[in-house]
């Protein structure tokens, strides 16, 4: 089976198959081999590629369709799809929403500096969030008109919660 992997916006491919209880892989550059995978604990894995060792964690966060991989204390948010599913998805015509401001982390809304209907410039401060004792200014990624504000001052929000929408350009 061929898989398409998206890591931090970059796309990669890998061919991966299970044969006789072992995994065989091949990268587009021709590198290929056999892998032994062990599950040490829930979410914790150990991978042996010949004599090379590789310890990692793989888990899914709630309300999130990405797989998180933690290796060498780098954290990767990864989207995996096999080609079969990708084509099914293309057929369904789902599009990504680009007019939305989401919370970059969980926290509390301290103040909202704009109102619905406001025209804002790029980089103007839209909201102030507080998380873990620090104040964070959320600046506008583009100029535009505010369509809807989904939160109010004092709200506690989760990461990736929708804060406000722009009118489409």
């Amino acid at each position: 089976m061929k898989y398409e992997i998206e890591i931090d916006g970059e796309n990669f491919e890998i061919e991966l198959n299970k044969e006789d209880g072992k995994f065989k892989y091949e990268f587009p550059d021709g590198e290929k081999g056999e892998i032994t995978l062990m599950e040490l604990n829930k979410s914790e894995f150990f991978l042996k590629k010949g004599s090379d060792n590789y310890h990692f964690y793989s888990y899914k966060k709630e309300n999130n369709d990405e797989i998180s991989i933690s290796h060498g204390n780098c954290c990767y948010e990864v989207k995996v799809s096999d080609f079969r599913k990708r084509i099914l998805k293309k057929m369904s015509g789902v599009e990504e929403n680009v007019n939305r401001i989401v919370a970059p982390m969980p926290g509390k809304i301290v103040s909202i500096n704009v109102e619905e209907g406001d025209e804002v410039d790029k980089d103007s401060v839209l909201l102030v969030m507080e998380a873990m004792k620090m104040e964070n200014l959320l600046k506008s990624p583009r100029s535009g008109k505010i369509k809807k504000i989904h939160v109010k001052s004092g709200d506690s929000v989760e990461a990736k919660a929708t804060l406000l929408d722009f009118f489409e350009e």
Partner: protein, 505 residues
């Protein structure tokens, strides 16, 4: 010694204090908010009382409730740790009034140092150099403008009651001034209930160097040498070490003597820290005094062998320190790396969440003070520091190498964190050579370095992700199959699958 001690704090520092108390055979009682019911400091204490709510003001800042719990549980002493009530004069007085020993300084010396402006005055009088700054909180934008123009930009805004970088703003030019003052006031009001702001000249390439002092109630005041704390992000310390690679022995002792001077000037007892800025010409200026246990105190414990928290207990219990200054030695080298749950690549934004995997390093010459465990969810309400990783060696090089080995073995999955950041700092030329000021991060392209490491691992990440996806998919498939057998008419679905296969293979 005390009958029982209440620890009015959470996280790693609550554990640090608990361990000192246990060593001294003092029974311990802890407190916890709603969010902390299964926090590590609760798990490891035999007795813990619940304070309803999650915000600091409802819980760890709730003076009346904390005093009530102390009395109910039979505690005759309270250790406040750092942050929260540790520099709250009202709390220290409330303890006194209720016959409970506050493990800290006297309310009067706390008050004298708590107001940064009064502390400056005091230092001046004691003959210790201070940074040019406004003598009083600013009352208008015009006043701020006038002072800034007098000493020249950059300037720094500070809250008299401040600490931990809160309420602090670096202002580089006049057009930033208005916004920065407003934002600093707002943050300061939220954090300390006080929106006063004053201004100091911002020194260029300054080093943040601080002196640890320990003093008993009989006027015996000792310094435990310095800590170099210049590596900061968002005005918060990230890496500390002792000795400082920047100053020589003569300057070290001179700064230390000035630290002792300040402590004596306020009749200080307890452990305390006097912070100095040292500019590139090696001139030093008093910055402020923290009248409490400092986050980075273990750095000093490692190089002096003195247990500072146990000393606090002994001092508070009225014991005399039978130390001699000349017997206190700074031997070997210690480094502390603060481990934060944060997204380094996204301006160090806090990144709370559940710890899915955790292996604390336990290497020769290392120590870890941590407040978390595997399975624990880091709450959003408190500080994002989750551990302090320390290394000790005979030389600075050995300490750095041990830190690197420990950072590489650390496993912390589930929340974004700054472990890799520490690794690249430890391997950077400027850090290795000990040539850095508080400007370190501005001059260091850590983003590129981190991205390089990420890219080196990318093939393994692809394997990891696709393998675990394949495993999860198996589960999904079995659901599909169940569905199939339920919906006997699965012909249509199967044909789509077959189509897609045909397109690709």
């Amino acid at each position: 010694m005390f009958k029982k001690v209440l620890i009015a704090n959470r996280g790693e520092i609550a554990l640090r204090i608990m361990r000192a108390a246990k060593e001294l055979k003092i029974p311990v009682v802890t407190i916890h908010s709603d969010a902390d019911i299964s926090a590590l400091h609760v798990l490891l204490s035999p007795e813990s009382y619940h304070l309803e709510g999650v915000t600091p003001s409802e819980t760890y800042l709730n003076i009346d409730k904390i005093i009530e719990i102390a009395k109910k549980s039979g505690a005759d002493a309270i250790h406040p740790g750092y942050g929260f009530l540790s520099e709250n004069e009202k709390f220290a007085k409330a303890c006194e009034e209720n016959g409970i020993t506050f493990i800290g300084p006297s309310p009067s010396s706390m008050k004298a140092m708590g107001d940064k402006l009064r502390a400056r005055e005091l230092a001046k009088k004691a003959g210790v150099p201070v940074i040019p700054g406004t003598e009083k909180p600013i009352t208008s934008l015009e006043e701020a403008k006038a002072f800034a123009n007098e000493v020249g930009y950059p300037i720094i805004l500070k809250a008299p009651a401040g600490g931990g970088g809160r309420g602090m703003r670096l202002v580089k030019s006049e057009d930033e001034l208005k916004n920065s003052i407003e934002s600093a006031k707002r943050e300061s009001l939220g954090a300390f209930g006080d929106d006063r702001i004053y201004i100091e000249k911002y020194l260029e390439e300054p080093h943040h160097i601080e002196i640890q002092v320990v003093a008993d109630k009989f006027g015996n005041t000792f310094h435990l040498f310095e800590r170099e704390c210049s590596i900061q992000r968002r005005h918060q310390k990230v890496i500390e070490e002792s000795p400082s690679p920047f100053i020589d022995n003569k300057l070290r002792l001179e700064i230390a003597r000035n630290g002792v001077k300040i402590a004596k000037a306020v009749g200080y007892f307890n452990a305390g820290t006097i912070e100095f800025l040292v500019d590139k010409y090696k001139k030093f200026y008093f910055l402020e005094m923290n009248t409490r246990l400092q986050v980075e105190h273990p750095v000093t414990e490692l190089v002096t062998g003195i247990d500072i928290v146990k000393a606090q207990f002994k001092i508070a219990a009225g014991e005399k320190l039978d130390w001699k200054q000349e017997n206190i030695k700074q031997s070997g080298h210690a480094i502390e790396a603060r481990i934060y749950a944060e997204d380094v690549l996204n301006n160090f934004n806090p990144s709370p969440g559940k710890i899915v995997g955790l292996i604390n390093p336990s290497n020769p010459g290392t120590r870890i003070d941590t407040g978390v465990y595997q399975g624990y969810t880091i709450p959003i309400y408190y500080d994002s520091m989750i551990a302090k990783l320390l290394s000790y060696g005979e030389t600075r090089e050995e300490a750095i190498n041990r830190m690197l080995v420990a950072l590489n073995e650390y496993r912390l999955a589930g929340v974004k964190n700054n472990i890799v950041f520490h690794k690249i700092v430890m391997e950077s030329k400027n850090f290795l050579e000990g040539k850095y000021s508080t400007n370190f991060l501005n001059e260091f392209d850590y983003v590129s370095e981190i991205k390089k490491i990420r890219n080196e691992n990318i093939k393994n990440v692809i394997l990891a992700a696709s393998l675990t996806y394949k495993m999860m998919e198996k589960d999904i498939k079995s659901v599909d199959e169940r569905e199939k057998s339920r919906w006997k008419t699965s012909g249509r679905i199967e044909s789509i699958y077959k189509n897609s296969f045909r397109l690709l293979y």
